[in-house]
Subunit: 219 residues, 2 copies
């Protein structure tokens, strides 16, 4: 659909619909270009509206649009973490990683720009959004492992693994999405088990967990 073709429908959008449309246009641009390479004109053109209309909805301009698009991407990512409590925990982790890696694949340039840092649009607010997603990932992991009160060694292990997964995602994007996504996913699950096993030798809580993981996987 060209911008012209959307014009007849455009006056009929509600405020909320218009806002969502602009946000979707911004997110699709920020997903595939560095923030420096996206202008308000680009967003206006992608949404088939005028630049003043974009400003009416986002008076803070590009920074505000970027943060709103990031918030919306973060929400999408949190939804990737939703997983039923069915089957062995490692199979659940594998399914979550599948969805996460699909997200990374679909937001490649924006994902790299965001996590590599040093961008002009990075602020304490954008950092807080990203940290919120990391915390949500850790909480989902504890919850699926049936742990309500993770001790410091288990928490450090889980957070280190989450950071390592982010690093792997960035390298994967940098290396033309090699190795194939299925191999990357299995490898990350194996690393999760390996680092938990190392921690198990120093921490009874993790040791109990690793024992239970093994039993689940023999089902």
């Amino acid at each position: 659909m060209t911008p012209q073709a959307t014009t007849p429908a455009y006056r009929r959008l509600s405020v909320e619909e218009r806002r969502s449309q602009l946000l979707a246009a911004a997110l699709s641009l920020f997903a595939h270009r560095a923030p420096e390479d996206v202008s308000l004109d680009d967003v206006a053109e992608a949404a088939g509206v005028s630049r003043p209309l974009v400003y009416r909805y986002f008076p803070g301009g590009k920074q505000q649009l970027y943060e709103a698009a990031l918030g919306s991407a973060a929400e999408e990512l949190r939804q990737c973490f939703d997983e039923t409590r069915q089957g062995p925990p490692l199979s659940r982790l594998s399914r979550v990683l599948d969805r996460y890696l699909t997200f990374v694949d679909e937001h490649d340039t924006g994902f790299s720009a965001l996590l590599q840092g040093g961008s002009v649009v990075e602020t304490s607010r954008t950092t807080a959004i990203v940290d919120g997603v990391r915390r949500a990932a850790a909480e989902h992991i504890y919850s699926h492992l049936g742990i309500s009160d993770p001790g410091p060694r288990l928490r450090m292990t889980v957070r280190m693994w989450i950071t390592a997964v982010e690093a792997a995602s960035l390298i994967w994007l940098d290396e033309d999405k090699q190795p194939p996504v299925d191999e990357l996913r299995d490898w990350l699950v194996e690393q999760f088990v390996a680092v938990l096993t190392v921690t198990a030798a120093r921490d009874p809580q993790t040791a109990a967990l690793v024992g239970a993981l093994g039993e689940d996987d023999r089902d």
Copy 2:
């Protein structure tokens, strides 16, 4: 020594000495406070000089001082990676980690502020400095492992582990430097072996390496 006490000596410093003195003062402040909490007046006071003198050496003000101090900290960190080629590689890694963790301990607040991102002083230049240190760390690891041409799976594993070490350092600072530094160091070495072992099942280069590591450690 109070600022007053340094005044008599101060005119006798060469340009290079004065610059080093200001940089040292800046680094000691940026090491223990968030960049937002360090002013040029603080640097002038710590160095026992006037604010205009600081500006004469660093006309770019706080941003320039921050980047210079960061460059100097990065150099210090690279020196931590220097290690003779004596003894088993894992013992060498352990000694490097000892020095690295001492550096983290001595630059706690600044280290956290830098790596947590979202700071106003973070730019593509500061990001490039940090990435340079990460690359140097990886190169040292390959060199000590006797590998001149690391393949993609080994490179990804090493870079993931380096990122996980950074994450562990931040969490360690956040958790009042617990667990004790010796335990953290040993745990990180064990994790290095564990993730390499996982990769070994997928990559012949890493498999050969893990075999050789085991032999070295039986020496």
